[in-house]
Symmetry: C2
Subunit: 154 residues, 2 copies
DNA sequence: TTCGATTCGATAGCTACCTAACAAATATTG
DNA sequence: CAATATTTGTTAGGTAGCTATCGAATCGAA
């Protein structure tokens, strides 16, 4: 009764990609839990703390998530008082996101969970093998994405 | 303004693992959408159709998800009439899951989305590179998981 | 200039994951 | 045997993703 299939079969690359993603998420969540922050909330804060005020729609592009997803995350951050969201004066459709004072204060206390994950997961790994892995994953991802857009549009 | 960080930095292995997982999920979802089934629901059906009735807690182990997560998925499948859930006669804590007649009927119409994903993503890829990739991902996952259990318990 | 298309954000409703807390059943142990 | 511990499943509440749809603002083109 051994385990067989998660996303895709057996112990395929796909199954391991999923497991790595979940392990990394678990680590990130456990680092951020004391601060009551989710992982994507952290990314938004990172952006605003390091690059300054950003249009909401640019954050969508950078994080590669849907507008609707970010909309919820932003409203959570606003509710917590970490971010504020104002109408852009030129284009009234767009919203400008800006970290608040208390957001910046929290940000200063925060560890960088991504650095920790990188260190634990890949420290000492062979750079060549890492490069191969990256390329294999990237190629597979591209193929799937092309198939989805191609198949649905043509 | 290029994209920087998803889970972990830049175009790290971790970031690509996440992207591959989401691309595969998107493909799986799009194949299953006409049948009104989610990906994990499909895995549960797969198990019950191919291995026969299974204890709920064994499904938890095989799918590597939390009891609470499966609980919700099972109740969805029961609501749809695809699976039934009965008390075990010996151990009244446990529930036995069994595919229903209409579940089996649906199962016969269903394509295998995992085969499709494997074909699109990895067909023609170098087996050696795939093996390397699998090993890199596996090692990284193990390291993260060890760190989580180790760090929290010791 | 007006009418239609596009863009941006919000909302509703869904899947899939998680933790925490609880109740019931069973196992263990003093 | 009784008290305690463990196992199993559910519920509540949270995060993170998605699609579909809507309304408001803006842009373009006839």
């Amino acid at each position: 009764m051994e385990d067989k299939r998660e996303i895709m079969k057996h112990d395929s690359v796909g199954a391991w990609a999923k497991r790595l993603y979940f392990a990394a998420r678990a680590m990130m969540d456990s680092v951020l839990r004391p601060y009551d922050l989710g992982s994507t909330q952290w990314y938004v804060l990172y952006q605003l703390a390091n690059e300054g005020p950003t249009m909401q729609r640019d954050v969508v592009r950078m994080l590669r998530i849907e507008r609707a997803t970010l909309s919820g995350i932003v409203s959570t951050l606003v509710r917590k008082g970490l971010v504020d969201q104002t109408l852009d004066s030129v284009d009234q459709r767009q919203r400008m996101l800006r970290i608040t004072r208390s957001g910046r204060k929290l940000w200063k206390e925060l560890p960088d969970p991504t650095a920790l994950i990188l260190a634990i997961a890949f420290d000492g790994a062979d750079p060549i093998e890492l490069a191969i892995t990256r390329r294999v994953l990237q190629t597979a991802t591209q193929r799937l994405n092309e198939h989805i857009s191609g198949g649905n549009q043509a």
